[in-house]
């Protein structure tokens, strides 16, 4: 997705032919190289997905005999569609939950003063210091004891609220003037409605950013989904795609076809929410 930033940078540079200075040429070269480095894997992925197995290890970017057979194959002979749906459900539910709960907690930590608020906040922040690898074992033991292994909930539960999101939302709510909340209170909204109908719309850019991060994070999550389920029907896409790597050989053209399809939702998701980010940024630029 970082590749998305490239065209706009290039375009901005391109308008100013007048000040072509050596420094700029160096900068453009570096940017172009960076851009190519970003885009290359995507190009290779798509190109490989269109090749027959015998051509996979050739380094040509344009397949000699392009084919869609790999795509047909993964639809017909694997549970690709099922994994796709699993991933979609888990990512969407988790994202919705994160946006809702992190927004709620961030708001309360920001706009309500109560005894122990700082302690709660620091406690939430401190969870950010713990790497996933260390959490996986406790998660596993917990999921096993509750009987959550091999279920959608078992895959989802560690991600339904995040310390990072709570922190992010709290910081953004700092920027919401109290007068909005006062106005809503006079308008007769209860505290939950004030949060949901007034405060949340005011932090749309933060919400969109959080939604994108969360969705991408869950869409590409591998370690925990791999551990939490042994049932092929419950695999998420990354886990399913990894299973194409057999014991003796990896069918790269299949993995790449699956991966190409897997990028589609992230692209769609990004395109949708990116607009909100931009609109949201413009909203916050307005006083009152």
């Amino acid at each position: 997705m970082t590749a998305g930033a490239l065209p706009s940078t290039a375009a901005r540079g391109a308008v100013r032919f007048k000040d072509v200075r050596p420094g700029r040429i160096v900068a453009w070269t570096l940017l172009a190289m960076g851009g190519i480095a970003m885009v290359m894997p995507l190009v290779v992925m798509i190109s490989t997905s269109l090749k027959y197995p015998h051509e996979v290890y050739d380094l040509n970017l344009i397949p000699v005999e392009p084919t869609l057979e790999n795509y047909l194959h993964i639809f017909q002979n694997t549970k690709f569609l099922r994994w796709f749906v699993n991933s979609l459900i888990i990512s969407i539910l988790t994202t919705a939950s994160v946006v809702f709960f992190d927004g709620l907690v961030g708001y309360v930590l920001c706009k309500f003063s109560f005894r122990g608020r700082q302690v709660v906040f620091v406690a939430i922040l401190s969870t950010l210091m713990i790497p996933t690898e260390m959490l996986v074992i406790p998660w596993y033991l917990m999921a096993r004891d509750f009987g959550w292994l091999n279920s959608v909930w078992g895959i989802m539960f560690p991600g339904i609220m995040t310390g990072f999101g709570t922190f992010l939302m709290r910081q953004f709510f700092e920027g919401v003037p109290d007068d909005y909340i006062h106005a809503a209170r006079i308008d007769g909204l209860n505290e939950f409605q004030i949060w949901w109908r007034i405060a949340m719309p005011l932090v749309t850019p933060a919400l969109s950013a959080l939604a994108i991060f969360t969705f991408l994070g869950n869409w590409t999550a591998f370690l925990w989904p791999l551990i939490a389920t042994s049932n092929r029907d419950l695999y998420t896409l990354p886990v399913g795609l990894a299973s194409f790597s057999g014991e003796f050989a990896t069918e790269w053209e299949m993995v790449m076809a699956g991966a190409s399809l897997a990028t589609l939702p992230t692209l769609v998701f990004f395109l949708i929410f990116q607009r909100y980010i931009i609109r949201g940024v413009m909203l916050t630029g307005v006083k009152g």
């Binding site: 006062h182 106005a183 209170r185 006079i186 007769g188 719309p201 005011l202 909203l283 009152g288």
Partner: protein, 359 residues
């Protein structure tokens, strides 16, 4: 329609008191303006009336009902905020109608009332716009529309005009006054602009450091300020205030210049005591013909500020520098000697220690 009364109202944040026991009776239909320097507790007091802040002590009544424990929405008030607090994600229509909508009024009635309020404020053509697409003055109107549409018993304004440029501020000030004259609802209005206070108020409350310094009609406060703080706060340019000794039955301005002790407040002054003499610039005018009645004072011009309609002159009189006025077409030159006349009946005297007016 309602009266509002504050009885020994106190606000504390933790141990720190920011409002120290305010007593105030606001009559039904009155336009009350609270003014004071920044941080004196105006907004805090207003928010307590609105129910947005807890009252730490004392009692607030609206329409003779104690409201200390009532939610803002149950107090029958409406508030206009300094930065308007318009919901940016809603249209003007929804912004104005939001409170009614939240109160579950039927859609048709909401629409009718919003349209009526928008009509009063000249917003009819902007109902489908969002706040970002409005000018500052239009946003200000929307904020007022949101208050009017609720048809409250009391309007609360917190520096509603401070975000507008000078011209628009004057225009909106007049509109607010007109609005009050046509709907006659009680208004409590906070500002730190003394011109707004003077022009809008039926009565002004002057606050400092969480306390009320003086309450009264604008002209009463202007002509009879209770202490040096009020005297300095109301009136522009500021009242000249100088500390002078009483010598030989006159106020000694040094270097041989003196003014007779004024009748008001001067009775009990003993020889040698010190007082603060207050002279409004309007009462100290260049002696050129028509406005020449009063006690003459000789001085020397220091700085001249022509304003068109009049000229402000900083004049060295005795050992003090005073601001006086001259006609607009009379622009003396710095360094020139000048004769001022001073209206002794309008002089103010304040206690040098406790700063209160000597009546």
């Amino acid at each position: 329609m309602a009266n509002v009364s504050l009885r020994s109202v106190v606000k504390r944040y933790g141990k720190q008191a920011v409002v120290h026991g305010i007593d105030l009776e606001i009559a039904d239909g009155e336009f009350l303006v609270m003014v004071g320097p920044s941080g004196c507790g105006k907004s805090t007091t207003l928010r307590m009336i609105a129910g947005l802040e807890d009252v730490s002590g004392g009692e607030i009544r609206i329409a003779d009902r104690v409201v200390n424990d009532l939610e803002p929405k149950d107090r029958n008030i409406a508030m206009v905020f300094q930065n308007y607090a318009l919901y940016p994600h809603m249209t003007v229509f929804d912004n104005i109608g939001f409170g009614l909508h939240a109160a579950r009024l039927p859609k048709a009635e909401v629409a009718a009332r919003v349209t009526k309020a928008a009509g009063m404020l000249g917003l009819a053509d902007y109902l489908q716009r969002r706040p970002a697409q409005l000018s500052g003055g239009q946003r200000q109107r929307v904020a007022m529309g949101r208050a009017i549409v609720r048809d409250p018993a009391v309007f609360l304004f917190d520096e509603p005009l401070s975000n507008l440029d000078a011209q628009l501020r004057n225009q909106m000030r007049t509109e607010i006054k007109r609005l009050h004259q046509s709907i006659g609802t009680t208004i409590v209005y906070v500002t730190h602009d003394q011109v707004e206070a003077m022009t809008l108020a039926d009565r002004i409350v002057i606050m400092r450091d969480g306390r009320v310094e003086q309450v009264g009609a604008p002209l009463d406060i202007f002509h009879r300020p209770a202490n040096t703080f009020v005297a300095g706060f109301i009136g522009s340019p500021q009242m000249n205030m100088i500390e002078v000794p009483v010598r030989a039955g006159a106020l000694d301005l040094g270097e041989g210049v003196s003014i007779p002790v004024p009748p008001r407040g001067g009775a009990g002054l003993s020889e040698g005591s010190r007082v603060i003499l207050g002279i409004r610039p309007d009462d100290l005018v260049a002696a050129d013909g028509a406005r020449a009645a009063g006690v003459p004072l000789e001085g020397r011009v220091a700085v001249v500020e022509p304003l068109g309609t009049e000229t402000q002159i900083f004049v060295r009189v005795g050992s003090h520098e005073l601001i006086g006025k001259a006609d607009g077409h009379h622009v003396p030159r710095p360094g020139e000697p000048i004769r001022l006349v001073c209206n002794v009946d309008r002089l103010h005297l304040f206690d040098a220690e406790r700063k209160h007016a000597l009546a």
